[in-house]
Amino acid sequence: MIRFEPREYVSTRRVIGAPVFAALIALALAAIPIWSAGADIATAYVLMVNGAIGSVFAISELLARATPLILTGLAAAVAFRAKLWNIGGEGQLYAGALAAVAVGSGSLALPSYALIPAVLVAGALAGAAVMLVPTLLKVKLGADEVVTTLLLNFVILLIVQMMLEGPMQDPMGMGWPQSEPVLEEAMLPQLIARMRVHAGLIVALLAAVFAAILMRRTVWGFEIRAVGANPSAARHAGIPVTATFVRVGLLSGAFAGLAGVGEVAGLKGYLTADLSPGFGYAGIVVAMLAGLSPLGVVIAAIFVAGVFVGADSMSRALGVSSYLADLVVAMSLLCVLISGLFVRYHVRIGGSRATD
């Protein structure tokens, strides 16, 4: 029989070490699918590492991929801290992207220094607005936000498709379902010339610092953590539980919305319905790997981005399906969940030594 005895003291080393260990286990487990696909395991790992960090180009790709993951990771991290299960990052990301196109593709004629902030604010507001619906349904009507946020992902994606085939379709797009390009003035500048990493990364890092300060150093952050720890105790202690859920829901949606802005205004330049390869869902993995810590999200996002970029590059060379990346990311989530047990508990296998 397995028994769990809560640790009285949890060392920081353990808290940080467990997810690192979990990520390494998940990477090691990737050997099984690589082998089953008939590729040479050592070559595959070398190609993955090279593809992720082997050149300036690779690192630029890695950081470009990490940018939306930091933001969707933050979206999950702050919401999960309050036990508000926002699984709708994907939909909120698309809402942000849609707003970025609506504001940035010619409806506002502003210089860069005004248009870029306008696009960012519009995207954040759109993401927040989308998350406000399930949050209100939860606090006012008791509808489980897991299901409503998940189902809204499908609704939002259909709205995006509808707009791209209708009012927002690019008239110069040869009939393809894509939006008009955003104006040059709305584009986030590149950080390295001729590389894809863009100023969205700075936005994401600032968002992480903002979230870290909010959660650790402010009353609102304290309230969010208190509500997550025990909502009824928080209510008895006079914490405005409903307002806290609404605040954290808006913040979470705003982060995911910003991720969509970055993809459109930093990378693609226009919106298509396949903008995100599941950044919203991967954000959940990022948040869990980070132990819901906003600064940890940055590191976890870089790891997950490395898996995606490395696996893509390896996949092109060896013909192993690039779904390998999704598989490793999913396995990291399961591994980090299990590793969390070893942080919080002494895990004893066998034996019958009673402690009480």
């Binding site: 699918p33 699984i87 509808a143 998940l150 499908f154 399906s321 990311v329 989530l333």
Partner: protein, 314 residues
Amino acid sequence: MIEILDILVNPNFWAAAIRIATPLIFGVLGALICERSGVLNLGIEGIFTAGAMAGWMAVWLGADLWTGVAVAAAVGGVFGLLHAILTVPFGLSQHVSGIGVTLFATSLSYFAYRTALPDVSSPPRITPFQPLDIEGFSDLPFIGAALFQQTPLTFLALFLVLAVAFILNRTPLGFAIRAVGDNPAAVEAQGLSVFGLRVGAVIVGSALMAIGGAFLTMSAFDAFFFGMVNGRGWICIALVVFASWRPGKALLGALLFGAFDAFQVRLQTEVGAFVPGQVFLMLPYLLSIFALVAAARKADYPRALLKPYFKGQR
């Protein structure tokens, strides 16, 4: 108005409604069994995908159709076991574990499909289940046309509604499963294993979810497509709340949903020129959200749902 009536009295409409409802019946029953024992299983979306892929793949590799269904159920059971281990003895967050199982089962299915079939552009087809043609019944007016256009899996689903209702409500096992979802300490006091009941319920429930997925590739269609589950699992989770965790109401909910979905498809052909198609495609998801919200207020959740139980601890 007349057009709407025309749709509703057409047996083909009801045949379509039952066909759309079938995977949901499996899924809602599966989710209901898990939740009655106290475990929310958000692995459902991925388990649907895994069942759809595994069942189809087995048949494509040469197994007969019922073996394919068994393979799907077994694969579903394995993912159920994974979720059960993480949530029952380990007591981890059922939300996060479920999402993890969905991501894992989905990506593993896609990876396996791509690895087995690296270069196909159009998905290979199998010979799916055929409509069950029973001498005499198929000629019955209306009912015959609506019901006997269905494949054996639909009849399995309908039978399972009765079986699950009977087991949950009329047998000691069902009583124990319901009790473990309401008050695990009391079950333990009776000398029953909370661990065994919950793990068993999640495995069986997940196997049913996977058969729901297999229906998609082995009856509704004859091939596996990426993204073909398309939120059906999440819809089932909403329908369980709507059905207040009762198999009979789960059937009703799935059929109403199927009727609504079949109706919107037909409506689309009537007014599709004026309204974008996506509006119609949105309706099932919005309906599920609406059903959840409508039921949420008076929802009588199993009292120990989401609560891990450790021996000798209350």
